[in-house]
């Protein structure tokens, strides 16, 4: 039955793929991960406005690689024996010892930069896939009641951004109607000011509308409980951050990994439970968490687990050698694991088309 998968499941799957990608610099594996993610996106994305941005993430990935290579070539090209070409060297004073601009550029250096950039790009693309597959706003709807207010703030911010762009375009066009300004810096005053007053007006209208529709219709709570909630939440979040870092960074001490993550999660959960009790609101058609959600989230976790295990036991296939320079091999186990990540293309239910007839969002806003 076509329905939209719980956004949490997509995020778990995408983060699993990202974790896997973070453990390797093997370009063949990374490209495989990108292909798998792209395939799933192509198979299971909807037709809503937020589902159209995947190309942008791919482009962003390319830019990341480009920037990485450019910096390596300019700043730190000399890394191996195979010198490709030599850039003129910029003489620097002695106190910036160790920094070098220009000079010989080696194949090892460029290749290393490409591998690193590709890994970063893959992480970005995985997160982008989650964004494209799951409406970020629906994910916010699924946040626990205690985080409801923070969730609303983020939702509103998400709406404001496109509105700002729209009114910016409108005002800039209007400026042309008065004849163009000669001084460039006048833009701050002539465009930014009207746009900001516009945004302020809109947010006041929105606040009034939300108030009139019962937002914040909650019971008051005593101070001690509010304090307990905040303490538990902050501690928990810190724990989760450290734990995630420990898990992603293979060189961190073991204690920082899984144990920290578990402790943080428990604390945050307790905080949410305490805080959630004061919020009295209901939820309309919450996304169910059923078998497909377990399977999709499970494949993501499985992929991540296999990569982590492999990197702990036999990391040679995951990190191709640059010295000596060698063509990277495709290790069997991680390659199969990355292929496993393709399963959600079938495991997730097909998406429901909304048949949106997209009216032109004319840049000349106002036309509405």
């Amino acid at each position: 039955m076509p329905r939209s998968l719980h956004p949490g499941a997509w995020w778990l799957w995408a983060l699993g793929m990202a974790t896997a990608a973070s453990r390797t610099t093997n370009p063949l594996l990374l490209l495989l991960v990108i292909v798998v993610v792209a395939q799933v996106v192509a198979a299971r994305r909807g037709d809503a406005p937020w589902a159209r941005g995947f190309k942008a993430y791919l482009l962003l990935g390319l830019i990341v690689i480009g920037v990485r290579v450019a910096f390596r070539v300019l700043l730190d090209g000399q890394y191996g024996a195979h010198v490709l070409f030599t850039l003129p060297r910029v003489p620097l004073p002695s106190f910036v010892h160790g920094v070098r601009i220009g000079g010989p550029v080696s194949a090892e250096g460029v290749l290393g930069a490409i591998y690193d950039g590709l890994r970063l790009a893959t992480l970005l693309i995985c997160v982008g896939a989650a964004n494209v597959l799951a409406n970020p706003k629906r994910l916010l709807k699924a946040v626990p009641p205690a985080l409801h207010e923070a969730g609303v703030a983020v939702t509103v911010a998400l709406t404001v951004a496109p509105q700002l762009i729209e009114s910016g375009q409108r005002v800039r066009r209007a400026r042309r109607l008065r004849g163009e300004q000669k001084r460039k810096f006048a833009v701050v005053r002539t465009v930014l000011l009207p746009v900001l007053t516009d945004a302020l007006d809109r947010s006041l209208l929105l606040a009034a509308a939300m108030d009139g529709r019962g937002y914040g219709h909650t019971n008051t709570v005593e101070r001690s409980r509010r304090f307990a909630t905040s303490a538990l939440m902050l501690g928990g979040l810190a724990g989760i951050c450290c734990g995630t870092y420990g898990l992603l960074d293979g060189t961190a001490p073991r204690v920082l990994g899984v144990p920290m993550l578990v402790a943080g999660t428990v604390m945050a959960w307790a905080g949410l439970a305490v805080g959630g009790r004061r919020v009295r609101r209901s939820r309309y058609r919450p996304d169910p968490w059923r078998a497909p959600e377990w399977l999709v989230a499970g494949t993501g976790i499985a992929v991540a687990a296999i990569f982590v295990l492999t990197s702990n036991t036999d990391a040679s296939g995951l990190v191709p050698s640059l010295q000596p320079l060698r063509w990277p091999a495709l290790p069997l186990m991680p390659a199969l694991a990355a292929g496993l990540g393709l399963l959600p293309a079938w495991l997730a239910p097909p998406v429901q088309r909304t048949n949106v007839v997209t009216r032109a969002a004319p840049a000349m806003a106002g036309a509405a």
Binding site: A174, G179, E180, A209, R285
Partner: protein, 540 residues
């Protein structure tokens, strides 16, 4: 249901109270229309009903407002959400979520309504307002009329007993406005909801109203039967003016009532048709070359074609009204004619020059455009500063802009911030700024939005004067009564194409959507405005 007891409201820094000693009662199940000129306190009166005034806006409230037994002094807007539903002027600004179905559920979620009940109410409300097919649509893809109906639906799901609407139809084309009004009357008749609605263009609403609250502007308020309030009110729809002229009693409020009384009047009218040519300028009949000639103009946004192959000619001294649904390409055409908007094909010639190929400063000296939100053009702190800047921009003699502004609206306060002006004053200021460059062609995009009857009359005079001076003028608008009174020619657009063009009387008098009230009442005789009728009666 709603009781105002000796209510006075004074905003901070205001010299005088906006409302003074208002005493009135709105009964359950009534549709109550609030009328009055701009700044008379219509929005304040509406805001008082759910406590947004003064809880949200600030100000001092004396007396009390009691809604179904709840005093708004003790209940904040959020505590009245289950009782009063409010829809503001710009529904898009009040949407919290991004699809229709979630928006309908939002208020219920806040009030912790049980999930099965929510589901049922959402379905019922979708059907009630005829928007079931829009359920998964993102808000920004909806048309103006659809947005307005979704906004009404989104407050109705909380099952309020009172619905408050601020100018629900002012931004809509005639057909979309009819849809929204039909939905509102259905709520009153089928559900017994008490509806309080403020509207500038009351000609469509007044026939459905049970009672009218008039705010004359001095802080007082008067409530009564529509016919009795309107018989003495300064502002009234054309049909009431016609009724007063013909001496009908009781005053008719709908076209249907008026037609039943109109037979004697039709016989008294000596000529079958009287549509004066309002353009006295020498150019109107000379057939001399057009001031602006556009051939095959095409405007596209991505895959969407906003304007398809449109050709128009504008002549000096003539006022052209541009009509059509929301999104039919009116704005896009105006921007393309001015040269600042995109144009994918075709030619535009003013004299022998194409405004798109000129610099912005040269283009505005040929064609001046006042956009839909005139405030976009203003960015300085005071009216005087804006005028001085306008003189510099157009290399005009100092004081040119100020002189123009004084002619349009005599009492424009120079030291005020442009944001503090009324809609009409702001429009006049922007028009003056654009006229400072002395363009021969003047384009106005939806200038009548938010103007009361007096401001519209003044705008009509201004447009007439400009035409007499030899300007060619285009006005994009939904306001059929304004078109009937102000325009020489009408162009109707649909789906990016011109579907009708010709003299005003020919185009609008026979159209079901665009015919003004006087034309509908007196048809088959062709009259467009009360003034035309008065003139003939005076002669006869």
């Amino acid at each position: 249901m709603i009781r105002f007891e000796q209510v006075s409201l004074t905003y901070a820094d205001a010299p005088a109270p906006t409302l003074r000693d208002v005493d009135l009662t709105i009964e359950a199940g009534e549709l109550c229309l609030v009328i009055g000129p701009t700044g008379a306190g219509k929005s304040t009166l509406l805001g008082l009903i759910n406590g947004l005034v003064p809880h949200f806006t600030g100000g001092t409230l004396n007396g009390r407002v009691i809604v179904d037994g709840r005093d708004t002094r003790e209940h904040k807007p959020r505590d009245l959400a289950d009782l009063v539903g409010v829809v503001g002027q710009d529904p898009l600004a009040g949407f919290v979520t991004d699809t229709v179905e979630e928006e309908l559920a939002y208020a219920m979620e806040q009030l912790a309504v049980e999930a099965p009940v929510m589901r049922k109410r959402v379905e019922e409300t979708l059907d009630l307002l005829g928007i079931a097919e829009l359920r998964n649509r993102p808000m920004r893809t909806l048309s103006g009329g659809q947005q307005q109906r979704v906004a009404i639906a989104s407050v109705l799901t909380a099952h309020p007993r009172v619905l408050v609407l601020d100018e629900p139809t002012s931004a809509l084309d005639p057909t979309a406005a009819e849809d929204v009004l039909a939905a509102i009357t259905r709520l009153v008749h089928d559900l017994g909801v008490t509806v309080v609605v403020a509207e500038h263009r009351m000609e469509r609403v007044v026939q459905y109203a049970d009672r009218v609250i008039e705010l004359p502007g001095d802080g007082s308020a008067r409530i009564g039967e529509p016919a009795s309030v309107l018989s003495t009110s300064d502002i009234a729809p054309p049909i009431v003016h016609l009724g007063r002229l013909a001496g009908w009693n009781p005053l008719p409020l709908s076209v249907r009532d008026a037609r039943r009384l109109a037979d004697p009047l039709r016989q008294r009218l000596s000529v079958r048709s009287h549509v004066p040519d309002r353009s006295i300028g020498a150019h109107s009949s000379g057939g001399a070359g057009a001031v602006l000639a556009a051939e095959g103009v095409v405007v596209t946004y991505g895959d969407t074609v906003a304007v398809r192959d449109v050709s128009v000619e504008l002549h000096a001294g003539r006022v052209v009204a541009l009509m059509g649904r929301n999104g039919s390409g009116k704005s896009s055409l105006l921007w393309a004619l001015q040269g600042s908007g995109p144009r994918a094909g075709g030619t535009v010639r003013v004299g022998d020059r194409d405004p798109m190929k000129l610099s912005a400063a040269d283009a505005r000296a040929l064609v001046g455009l006042v956009p839909q939100t005139p405030a976009d053009l203003l960015y300085l702190d005071t009216v005087d500063a804006e005028c001085a800047q306008a003189d510099r921009e157009s290399d005009a003699v100092d004081g040119t802009c100020r002189k123009l502004a004084d002619r349009l609206v005599p009492d424009l306060p120079g030291d005020h911030h442009p944001r503090d002006l009324s809609e009409g004053q702001r429009l006049a200021l922007v028009l003056a700024i654009q006229l400072t460059a002395s363009p021969q062609v003047v384009l106005l995009d939806e200038p009548t939005r938010g103007l009361d009857y007096n401001a519209k009359d003044r705008l009509r005079e201004i447009v007439g004067e400009l035409a007499n001076e030899g300007h060619a003028i285009v006005i994009a608008t939904h306001d059929v009564e304004f078109v009937a009174a102000a325009a020489d020619d009408v162009i109707v657009m649909a789906d990016g194409e011109i579907v009708a063009t010709g003299p005003t009387a020919d185009v609008i008098s026979s159209s079901p959507a665009f015919a003004p009230q006087v034309a509908k009442v007196l048809s088959p005789a062709v009259y467009l405005t009360v003034d035309d009728v008065a003139q003939v009666l005076g002669e006869g």
